[in-house]
Amino acid sequence: MDLALLTALNTERAARRAAVVVTHLASGVQRLVRGEDITSDPLAGDIEAAVRAGRSGVAGEGEARVFLNVHVPPARMVVVGAVHISQALAPMARATGYDVTIVDPRTAFATAERFPDTPVIAEWPDKALPGLALDPFTAMVALTHDPKIDEPALEAALKAGCFYVGALGSRRTHAKRMERLAALGLPQAQLARIHAPIGLDIGAANPPEIAVAILGQVIGALRKPAPAREAAA
């Protein structure tokens, strides 16, 4: 491997951007495909599928066989609201491989006792989120029910291109929320990305079941190709 290629790969990894090293196995010839260049690559289909699955592997046949080594950053989940659902969601999300952070300015909720093993930031989203550097490999889950807390987080998540943005609340609550967010100048196409009412429709009846519904929806958003995702949403 060329040292320059390896250095460029490490730059992408450090910046939490997807990158794939393509090695032609017969010749050893290699190239780095950055996330933004995947669609224009001759192997776009194979590479896109591998990145979405987060799985490296061999593609092609015979002389054309290539190894695709996929480097995607670990997915993160930012949960706004140190509430009962979050207490169930945080350990489940961690078990499925997410780095979880809880944000809630209400110090009665945001305590280490309520969230053992999960970092809790007892700050308003405006203060906490810049340090978390939201990105396309981050899921935003807003659960406080309080527009003052949830909405700045939703706005930041949409602007950062988070792969999943979801908010707790009934259809009526959400309709009002959409009006307020639209008034902030967020385009409809972005607002339509918010999953609300949050979670898969599995008839979840209590906080742990709602957490399962949310986590299932987050996983689908990460793993399923975009058209299927929109149909499912």
Binding site: M1, D2, L3, L6, T7, L9, N10, R13, A14, R16, T23, L25, G28, R55, S56, G57, V58, F67, N69, V70
Partner: protein, 119 residues
């Protein structure tokens, strides 16, 4: 003389000491010859997933793993040859392979490992 421009320090979580690919670049910067081993394919119960890396320097120091300890010794030996020749090679280890049994892939799986020099 121009002052040397130092890159901004990365957050600790992104440039960990045990990050294999960061170590490969660091070792090269220290003037060592370095080889990189990568798991290409696995069959059965292989302990490390496809894409896992082991980085080896010219004195046999290594970091990372391709099999959770089963075949690292053999890979390091092969890596010395790759560092000398500069020619990448693909190694196979599995239970059907007498040599692999000797180096101890006792988990019952099989793996194919690509070894290349960092140039």
């Amino acid at each position: 003389m121009q002052p040397e421009i130092q890159p901004a320090p990365s957050p600790a979580s992104l440039a960990r000491e045990d990050d294999v690919l960061e170590a490969a670049v660091r070792w090269r910067a220290e003037g060592k010859a370095v080889a990189l081993a990568t798991v290409l394919e696995t069959w059965g119960s292989a302990p490390r997933p496809v894409g896992s890396h082991l980085v080896i320097d010219d004195t046999g120091n290594f970091l990372g793993s391709v099999s959770g300890g089963c075949v690292e010794g053999a890979v390091v030996t092969e890596a010395m040859d790759v560092i000398d020749s500069g020619k990448p090679r693909t190694l196979e280890f599995g239970v059907a392979d007498e040599a692999a049994w000797r180096v101890g892939l006792s988990c019952g799986g099989a793996i194919r490992v690509y070894v290349e020099r960092i140039d």
